[in-house]
């Protein structure tokens, strides 16, 4: 059946230019349906959720006036309102006789139309041709919506951004700080306010700050642009290129489908698979948002196939598994979080060499085992479904068949991934640094054509610039001697730590959590690490432990604005399908677990010789 649907989709003129990967994804949202004569497919004014393609028989379309009607034969489509983002049907559709159609869901079509704008145009032409037979209803007219008014919060944010940095500058001068330190504090206040009030995209504030510093020559270019000079630049490029190729080649999607076919068809394994996918993606995909973006379509496919009741424990568990899979492993691998890569560059060279491979995960083993184990146990025992529903294996087989044999780009992506994985885990075999290995993978992908010019342009440049700008921003802090000012200001007030890691964990938790109230994860973690590293060093705490704690605690969140991945999950259907209260309770439980596991790691770190 799936092969038949796949073949029918390939023949459809709208989908003729789709790649096997796109057809495979389309297949997940496509059903073959049969209707008896006179059966109504949809009514004028109803929500437009599906597009129809007639395989056999005849459909009749009726205008809302009840007088105008016309028939469509096999090989014709209708219901193109879904492409036009039009929420309502313009006509009513019935089966004129026995009717067999392909019904394609709006979600997969929207994803496809995003990559193929021409597909949307063609569908709109089809819709316009159909509308020519009827007078367009007034309700279908284009509504001119005025731009959303600026919220009060944003207004306050902009006004604060224009005044408070100047106040901070003056206050710092008044407090006896040198002018250069006061300027930095002014710029820091500006960036923090822009983050706090979400006035611009996350990557913009540090970029503004370093451009301002360069413009007035507050710090030399080698400091402000230190991120761009550093190995972090090529490491980020390489890792992001690998992530892009894994997705665009279809290898990531194929692997997930392939795995789903081979795991036991039970709820725990479905959820476990989503968690494992998240872990594997964490190796080469630093932003959790990117991992979630890749997992959400799979979640939707699984969710619609399993057909659990909305907001039930089973439906909620699937979303929780997806979200946790994408975010849980962020602190556990160097490459699993963008901020890890930025903070890694702050570590002494010797520590960088030691922790660039698998040793990061080894040192984080207690947290890794604790978090993963607790999550898997929760998935196994806390969210038992009333009845177990199977995955649509036939459809998955059909999707894999549509993808065909491994393509050249998939081979290249797979080999590059494995080489990078082996090289990062065991740097002794290539006798170089992970950053240069990532750069080698980048040029290999470019030379082999797996990453073409368009793919290169589609790398996540905003996050790359964000991290490199943050690097310069924090480097300027050191250059201007503010780190020493900070240590001096703290004075003896942290003597209670007395080199005890237990107390330092508490300090790291407080500092990181407080900063995270105002800042997004990446900025919050990098600034926490910047502030805590000198304190930790002075207290004799291993620098990696300091960075790891900031990474672990920066994942703690309570309010929606603190985690952009949550917003992404909401847009992906969290509130429609998942019990939000249950979801939040689960997240808060993980927050507490993170703190407990940090303390549980202390004896292990002592055993490793890190403390």
């Amino acid at each position: 059946m799936q092969a038949f649907i796949a073949a029918a989709l390939r023949r459809h003129p709208l989908f003729a230019s789709c790649t096997p990967l796109e057809l495979s994804r389309l297949l997940s949202g496509t059903q073959r349906l049969q209707f008896a004569a006179e059966a109504e497919l949809f009514e004028a004014g109803a929500n437009a959720d599906f597009y129809y393609w007639i395989l056999e028989g005849e459909a009749e379309l009726l205008a809302p006036d009840g007088d105008t009607r016309w028939q469509l034969q096999a090989g014709r489509g209708f219901g193109a309102e879904v492409f036009a983002d039009m929420p309502r049907r313009l006509v009513t559709a019935r089966a004129a006789g026995p009717l067999t159609v392909l019904r394609i869901g709006r979600a997969v079509l929207r994803e496809l139309a995003a990559a193929h704008p021409e597909l949307k145009s063609a569908a709109l032409v089809e819709l316009a041709a159909g509308l020519g037979q009827v007078a367009a209803p007034a309700a279908a007219g284009v509504e001119h919506q005025s731009a959303a008014a600026l919220s009060r919060r944003q207004r306050i944010g902009w006004l604060a951004t224009m005044t408070l940095p100047l106040a901070a500058y003056e206050a710092a001068l008044y407090g006896g700080l040198p002018q250069y330190s006061s300027i930095y504090l002014g710029l820091f206040t500006m960036a923090a306010l822009m983050w706090l009030f979400a006035l611009v995209d996350e990557y913009v504030p540090p970029l503004i700050a370093i451009v301002a510093m360069l413009f007035i020559e507050l710090v030399p270019a080698r400091v402000a642009l230190s991120g761009f000079y550093s190995r972090a630049f090529l490491l980020l490029l390489g890792v992001y290129a690998l992530a892009t190729v894994m997705v665009t080649s279809g290898l990531a999607y194929r692997t997930m489908l392939w795995t789903l076919l081979r795991i036991p068809d039970r709820p725990f394994w479905h959820r476990g698979a989503l968690t494992v996918f998240g872990f594997v993606l964490s190796i080469v995909m630093p932003p959790s948002n990117a991992r979630l973006a890749l997992l959400l379509p799979l979640y939707r496919e699984m969710d619609s196939s399993l057909g659990a009741r909305a907001h039930s424990r089973e439906a909620s568990a699937l979303m929780i598994a997806t979200f946790t899979g994408a975010t849980l492993f962020s602190p556990l691998l160097l490459t699993a979080k963008s901020a890890n890569l930025a903070a890694f560059m702050m570590l002494p060279a010797q520590v960088r060499t030691e922790f660039q491979g698998i040793y990061w995960l080894v040192a984080a083993a207690v947290v890794a085992i604790g978090l993963t184990g607790a999550h898997l146990l929760a998935m196994r025992f806390l969210f038992q479904p009333r009845r177990s529903r199977p995955l649509p294996r036939e459809r998955i087989v059909g999707q894999l068949a549509t993808l065909g044999p491994l393509g050249r780009a998939e081979w290249v992506a797979g080999i590059a991934f494995l080489v990078f994985l082996a090289g990062a885990a065991l740097p002794q075999w290539h006798q170089s640094q992970t950053a240069w290995l990532a750069a080698l993978m980048l040029v290999a992908l470019l030379a082999l054509g797996a990453l073409d010019k368009k793919g290169f342009q589609s790398l996540d440049w905003p996050i790359i610039f964000f991290l490199l700008s943050l690097d310069g921003f924090t480097e300027a802090l050191n250059y201007l001697g503010l780190r020493e000012v900070l240590i001096g200001a703290i004075g003896t007030s942290l003597d209670w730590i007395n080199g005890q890691l237990g107390w330092f964990v508490l300090l790291a938790l407080l500092v990181t959590s407080l900063l995270r109230l105002a800042m997004p994860i990446t900025a919050g973690m990098v600034l926490s690490a910047t502030l805590l590293l000198p304190i930790g060093t002075a207290q004799g705490i291993h620098p990696w432990i300091v960075v790891f704690l900031t990474s672990l605690f920066s994942d703690i969140w309570f309010l929606p604005h603190q985690n952009s991945a949550y917003g992404q999950a909401v847009a992906g259907g969290l509130r429609q399908r998942c019990d939000n209260a249950l979801f939040m309770r689960y997240s808060w439980t993980l927050n507490g677990l993170r703190v407990l596991l940090a303390y549980a790691s202390i004896p292990y770190w002592r055993w490793l010789g890190l403390y």
Partner: protein, 348 residues
């Protein structure tokens, strides 16, 4: 894209930021470094490097600009009047708070015209007596006088030939040469004796002076030789390499230079005022002068240069039978001015 509704706020923010940054730049103190020769000169590069090193340590926002009176080291005939006019135009339009003028020409053609001004402070870097440029009574002038390390040369002479020697100095008849002559003549050479200082205008006169020195001296002190003309009355300047090589090989007397270029180009030994240290010292003076420039704070007092370095070519020293304590060789190695066999121009 910024949402349309927040555009007025965003535009106001960008405008405010731009105005603040530009205003700040206009209010930043300005420092102009004026060199007498070109940026490609070895000595000038070393001085610049010292200045930059010291400025890197400075965290106060500062606008710095470099200006060279000659475009390249190969400019044999510099039209000093034109170069001076251009330099003064740069000063008058850019309006620095502090001018660091390095070299005699920079004082003679530019710096002295600004002595006594209240809107500009001058930090000189010269070998000549600052009073000769009218700086003695000027309230806006301070600086560093580059002193030849003559005391260190006296220390060295004990290993060269003997306890009481006759010394003849040879240099070029130009402002730098005259400044060096003044220092050499004013120095107490005891237990040795200064046989005389000769400044020449061209290469034939130099060669003649080198040959004649053997008649009344035991050691030849080679002063700065940059810009020596090949022929009487003009033409091209003799290259460092030709002049040093010839002097080292044709002089019957051991020759000791006061510039690294003498050894780099083939000479055996030089005791040199460290140009990098001079640059650092000048920058420190300039930053101190800058600190009070706008509010009329006190100027730091003038200083003499204090640091020196050793340049050695062991192969030539051996040829003359001179053996120095190893500390000299190590000092030269530390300052990257130890020229080993076969290295005519490249220090190792």
């Amino acid at each position: 894209m910024t949402p349309r509704s927040s555009l007025p706020f965003a535009a106001a923010f960008v405008a405010l930021l731009t105005v603040l940054l530009v205003t700040f730049n206009h209010q930043k103190p300005r420092l102009l470094v004026l060199q007498s020769y070109s940026e490609s000169g070895t000595w000038e590069r070393a001085v610049d490097s010292g200045i930059q090193r010291e400025l890197t340590r400075n965290l106060r926002p500062l606008r710095t600009r470099w200006h060279y009176m000659s475009f390249s080291e190969e400019s044999m005939r510099i039209n000093w009047d034109t170069a001076a006019q251009h330099s003064r135009s740069v000063i008058d339009t850019w309006r620095p708070d502090v001018l660091v003028a390095i070299g005699e020409e920079a004082q003679q053609y530019v710096g002295r015209h600004y002595a006594g001004r209240t809107d500009l402070r001058i930090v000189y870097g010269i070998g000549e007596d600052p009073a000769s440029f009218g700086y003695a009574d000027a309230a806006n002038v301070t600086g560093v006088r580059e002193t030849l390390p003559l005391a260190q040369i006296v220390e060295l002479l004990r290993y060269v030939k003997g306890p009481a020697l006759r010394i003849r100095a040879l240099g070029v008849d130009d402002p730098t040469g005259r400044a060096e002559r003044q220092q050499v003549q004013e120095f107490d050479w005891g237990p040795h004796r200064l046989a005389g200082v000769q400044l020449v205008a061209d290469y034939p006169a130099w060669q003649e002076a080198v040959r004649a020195a053997a008649a009344d001296a035991d050691v030849l002190l080679v002063l700065s030789s940059k810009g020596l003309m090949r022929e009487e009355g003009g033409g091209q300047a003799v290259s460092d390499r030709e002049l040093s090589y010839w002097t080292e090989h044709e002089s019957a007397l051991p020759a000791i230079g006061v510039r690294d270029s003498f050894v780099a180009a083939g000479g055996a030994l030089a005791v040199v005022p460290s140009p990098e240290a001079l640059g650092e010292q000048l920058a420190r003076q300039a930053l101190a002068a800058l600190a009070g420039a706008r509010r009329g704070g006190p100027l730091p007092p003038p200083q003499d240069s204090v640091d020196f370095q050793i340049s050695l070519r062991p192969e030539r020293l051996a040829a003359r039978g001179i053996q120095l304590p190893t500390i000299y060789e190590q000092a030269a190695r530390a300052s990257h001015t130890l020229y080993l066999e076969g290295a005519e121009a490249q220090p190792r």
